[in-house]
């Protein structure tokens, strides 16, 4: 397994990230992990049939980092994984912009896949982020807080 201390595993940031740079960091000096799985989430152009223009991401600084560190620890207990990186953006984001990145390396591809999906599923229900969408509804631009999906809670429950 790669030394973990070399990487800051969690980054909450306003600025965009570069997938290639993140993957290069996960792979650097890491010749034993043959598998790398990445997840990238982007702002979609619609939600529940409404056209989305942009969104604002709010979070609970301090708790966010703690909850994500806790999720990574749980993933490490369950699977044999090497390096992990979670990036989550905050602030104003427009269509197509990257919101979240999760990268996991492992000797075994299944561990990398499972740990990555687990991290995303738990992040969705445990990490204190909230999205406010600016949507066009019947010609009007309105802001609304996104409602949590029960399917997300169900997905996270599947791991327990």
């Amino acid at each position: 397994m790669a030394k973990r201390s070399e990487l800051a595993e969690i980054s909450i940031q306003e600025k965009d990230f570069c997938l290639a740079d993140e993957v290069a960091l996960l792979e650097a000096d890491n010749p034993c992990d043959g598998a790398i799985v990445t997840f990238t989430g982007r702002v979609r152009n619609n939600n529940d049939g409404n056209s989305v223009n942009s969104l604002t991401l709010e979070h609970y600084s301090g708790m966010t980092e703690k909850s994500l560190a806790n999720i990574i620890s749980q993933a490490r207990e369950r699977w044999d994984i090497g390096r992990v990186k979670i990036i989550h953006r905050i602030g104003e984001l427009t269509i197509g912009e990257q919101i979240v990145f999760v990268g996991v390396t492992s000797k075994h591809r299944h561990d990398a896949f499972a740990a990555n999906e687990f991290i995303m599923d738990y992040l969705k229900v445990k990490a204190p982020f909230w999205k406010k969408e600016r949507i066009t509804d019947a010609g009007q631009t309105v802001e609304r807080w996104l409602e949590a999906k029960t399917t997300d809670t169900d997905k996270a429950d599947l791991w327990s």
């Binding site: 989430g41 703690k66 989550h88 969705k124 204190p128 909230w130 406010k132 807080w145 949590a148």
Partner: protein, 82 residues
């Protein structure tokens, strides 16, 4: 004294991001909710929403979790990140 913070839709509904509360004895998170609800009709209604989540010192907790002076308590709607 404890610090209480609110986020997202809840913060907007209350028009309040943060407040402090003096507590003499040890209270549960539910006790604190109750006290906050006592502030006004609107707060009462807001805190009757059973989907609200609670955290103490950055850990998600259940309603029976005990809060002591110096703790940071947070209330917020279900999270929607990722």
């Amino acid at each position: 004294m404890i610090k209480i913070v609110f986020f997202a839709a809840l913060r907007e509904q209350l028009d309040c991001a943060e407040l402090t509360m003096d507590i003499a004895e040890i209270l549960t998170v539910n006790d604190i909710k109750q006290r906050l609800g006592d502030k006004s009709e609107q707060w009462q209604q807001t805190f009757s929403n059973t989907s609200l989540l609670s955290a103490v010192n950055h850990d998600m907790v259940a309603g029976d979790h005990k809060v002591k002076s110096g703790d940071e308590v947070a209330f917020f709607p279900p999270v929607t990140g990722g």
